[in-house]
């Protein structure tokens, strides 16, 4: 199950009528009401989970396995090489996004099927699922867009926010981003070693030791399968199959990178400081974030990509990043249907709901990567909001 939404349930807001903090345009009461409306959507979907959701994910799995087997088989027919690469790329994209990412969020744990259980599933990529679940489900989804907490802001490599202080190192921002895109699978796998924190002296090299065995085992298995065994099985076609598998992995890398970067980095997406998230107090009087603010942060800290049904499936429904962040443990196929309600609620509360077609969101992210390579800040307000629809004024 997702670990994102606990401990806040009991938090009550400290202020009642004043706007909660400089950034939040809502009063504490409005924020609470907003949170309750989100809770209601979540409860309605939870109560309705059933056979249709199970049939859907099983169908996606069937397509993924079919594409994978077809891809591997087509490498025996040299003229079909592009088809083989296409099938294998699609298989890896489905496996990682609509199946892997979502299953490992615990979205289908209620089915009780070991093959679709977050505790058992592992995906067709270099990063061990076990390790990813900690950094993604816990760190990223709990501390979404909190600077200094959410290690997905720039992944410790890039400058993706004005509030990250500029260093000459960041002149290479576009180059690093390009490298990360091509090697995304490896970036994700090595993400948890927190190299940037080791360089900064915040983490000891020894802290990584427990991670190595699992990581190395997974990398070895992935490499053995894609770069030794399957190419070897095609005999004299070894180089072609080897190249085809590599291309499929890179195609998946490029696609996943672009979808994921559009989730939190387009212009207009907000980041938060730790202090401004503490808008309530718990039973013991300690400052905590209220559930309403947590929901608020998820909406403001995420961006959607508009598109057709097939596009949403291929993006693992991360094109509904806002809904995913609000309800990370609901089956992703439900995001399109709740999106309308979420959008309507945001409109009523005057919260911006950031969405746009893929090319606009990618363009916006690309611009940000380039702009933040250079020093200076304050560009945030001046940034043209081309890539987003401001629903509320």
């Amino acid at each position: 199950m997702s670990t994102t939404q606990n401990t806040r349930a009991t938090a009550t807001s400290s202020a009642t009528t004043d706007p909660v903090s400089g950034k939040v345009p809502l009063t504490a009461e409005q924020l609470q009401a907003f949170g309750e409306e989100m809770d209601a959507i979540r409860q309605a979907v939870l109560a309705d989970l059933g056979e249709a959701d199970a049939a859907y994910i099983r169908k996606v799995v069937k397509y993924q396995r079919g594409l994978e087997v077809a891809g591997r088989a087509l490498f025996y027919v040299p003229p079909a090489w592009p088809l083989a690469v296409a099938a294998l790329s699609l298989s890896k994209i489905l496996d990682n996004m609509e199946i892997g990412h979502n299953v490992m969020h615990g979205q289908y744990d209620w089915m009780g099927d070991p093959g679709l259980n977050s505790r058992m599933f592992d995906w067709d990529t270099a990063c061990p699922g076990e390790q990813w679940k900690y950094s993604h489900n816990y760190i990223h989804h709990t501390f979404t867009n909190i600077l200094g907490k959410d290690r997905d802001i720039g992944y410790g490599i890039l400058r993706m926010d004005e509030d990250q202080p500029w260093r000459p190192y960041y002149l290479g921002n576009p180059a690093y981003a390009f490298a990360l895109m091509m090697l995304f699978e490896w970036g994700v796998a090595l993400h948890d070693l927190e190299v940037e924190n080791i360089v900064a002296g915040k983490r000891k090299l020894a802290d990584n030791k427990p991670l190595y065995p699992r990581l190395l085992r997974k990398i070895r298995r992935q490499a053995l399968k894609d770069y030794v065994l399957f190419p070897a099985l095609t005999g004299p076609l070894f180089p072609l199959t080897f190249a085809g598998n590599a291309v499929a992995n890179v195609v998946r890398n490029i696609w996943a990178f672009n979808i994921i970067f559009c989730g939190h980095f387009p212009a207009g997406v907000e980041t938060f400081s730790e202090e401004e998230c503490l808008d309530g107090v718990d039973d013991k009087g300690e400052p905590v974030e209220t559930r309403g603010h947590w929901y608020y942060r998820q909406v403001l800290g995420s961006a959607n990509i508009s598109g057709g049904p097939l596009f949403h499936i291929m993006s693992g429904n991360l094109s509904h990043q806002i809904e995913h962040h609000l309800f990370p443990d609901l089956p992703a196929r439900r995001y399109p249907e709740v999106a309308q309600q979420v959008q309507e609620i945001c409109e009523r509360y005057g919260l911006s709901y950031n969405t746009g077609p893929l090319h606009k969101q990618v363009g916006s992210v690309f611009k940000k990567i380039c702009r933040l390579a250079l020093p200076g800040r304050g560009a945030k307000a001046a940034e043209p909001v081309a890539a987003q629809e401001r629903i509320a004024a």
Partner: protein
């Protein structure tokens, strides 16, 4: 299957199908193909008794991965209940010992509320259709016949069973008669069973036939009465020194254990431990750290308390055998409701379905 099985279970195939494993591909083609997992196709469903809690015998054809079972063992059965919730419960195999790949029978009493298909037992008894697929574990349990049925001995064997507890004893008895010489058990066997009423008597016809035949087996059926040491002593005066298999509900087993004191001849198996009556006053609070839920300890198992708070932790057999509900208890003391054993180690792995908190307790759920 053996050559194919050897190939499918090879390290090479595992490497090629990593990280999902070969069974995740085979099941897409045919649910009866498997390399390590066990599934089964329903071959037949036969009603044994009717009423509020009907009993049926379900014949299953397992996949080639089934390693067979010893008489008296049970198997975990997982079915997709309505709403696509796969639920797993344990059932004793009632048919005689099986070899790898052979079909088996389960004799199941429909438990729980009368909503068709809302519990595994109700689904098996009332919903299962020929051709349906269920998920199995390998056979488990050590409430088994240790003797070879093919070798006649002069060991007297005694079976004391109540209600659905008849099934493992039935499997043992059938094995003795099937594998013994000339349809005889080859040793003296006393089969004492307690049923609520004649209508609730499972295997009535077969037991009558066994009782009538010249096969060394004494069948004694009691309807409506409860186990008493007095009656047992009259039937088998030296019962405490006789190899005994007792299986039935907890109150009956308590009486049996009392009668046998500490005799090593007694083997017992408990039925229906799902709902445990709390012993003594429950104290303290139970906290589920991951979900942030907390409540006063009600004295029932951690699993039941978690579910009462709206959590849905992974669980399986609900009787402490499948380990799928294992969770980390970070602090506090828990009592194993099966053995009464208490443990207070920090960060201990516990099976929440059979662990009841004693005082304050924190569990990572």
């Amino acid at each position: 299957m053996s050559i194919a099985g050897t190939i499918l279970r090879s390290r090479a195939v595992a490497a090629l199908t990593s990280p999902h494993g070969v069974d995740r591909y085979l099941e897409q083609i045919n649910p009866m193909w498997a390399a390590t997992e066990v599934r089964a196709r329903v071959l037949d469903v036969r009603r044994e008794t009717g009423g509020e809690h009907p009993v049926a015998t379900i014949t299953l054809q397992p996949t080639g991965t089934w390693r067979g079972h010893r008489a008296g063992q049970y198997v975990q059965v997982g079915v997709d209940l309505p709403g696509s919730r796969r639920t797993t419960r344990c059932f004793t195999i009632s048919s005689a010992a099986s070899l790898p790949g052979e079909s088996i029978q389960l004799t199941v009493r429909a438990q729980g509320e009368k909503r068709p298909g809302q519990s595994v037992s109700r689904w098996l008894v009332e919903r299962a259709q020929v051709g349906d697929i269920v998920h199995l574990s390998q056979a488990e349990g050590d409430f088994v016949l240790e003797e070879s049925p093919a070798t006649p001995t002069n060991n007297h064997l005694l079976f004391l069973t109540g209600g659905s507890g008849i099934t493992p004893a039935m499997s043992i008895l059938r094995t003795l008669l099937r594998d013994g010489y000339d349809g005889r058990a080859g040793r003296r066997v006393t089969f004492l069973h307690f049923a609520r009423s004649a209508e609730d008597q499972i295997f009535a016809t077969e037991l009558a036939e066994i009782a009538a035949a010249d096969n060394d087996v004494d069948v004694v059926l009691r309807h409506g009465s409860v186990f008493s040491e007095f009656e047992l002593r009259r039937l088998v005066p030296s019962y405490a020194a006789t190899d005994t298999w007792a299986c039935g509900p907890a109150p009956m087993l308590d009486l049996v254990r009392e009668a046998y004191a500490d005799s090593p001849s007694l083997r017992t198996e408990l039925f229906n431990v799902a709902s445990v009556v709390p012993s003594g006053a429950a104290e303290g609070d139970v906290a589920f750290a991951r979900s942030g839920k907390q409540a006063a300890n009600t004295g029932t198992t951690l699993l039941e308390q978690a579910e009462a708070l709206g959590l849905r932790p992974t669980s399986g057999c609900r009787m402490g055998i499948c380990f799928s509900c294992t969770a980390t208890k970070s602090s506090g003391t828990v009592r194993n409701v099966l053995t009464g054993e208490e443990s207070s180690l920090p960060d201990e792995e516990v099976r929440v379905c059979v662990s009841a908190p004693v005082g304050d307790c924190v569990v990572d759920l």
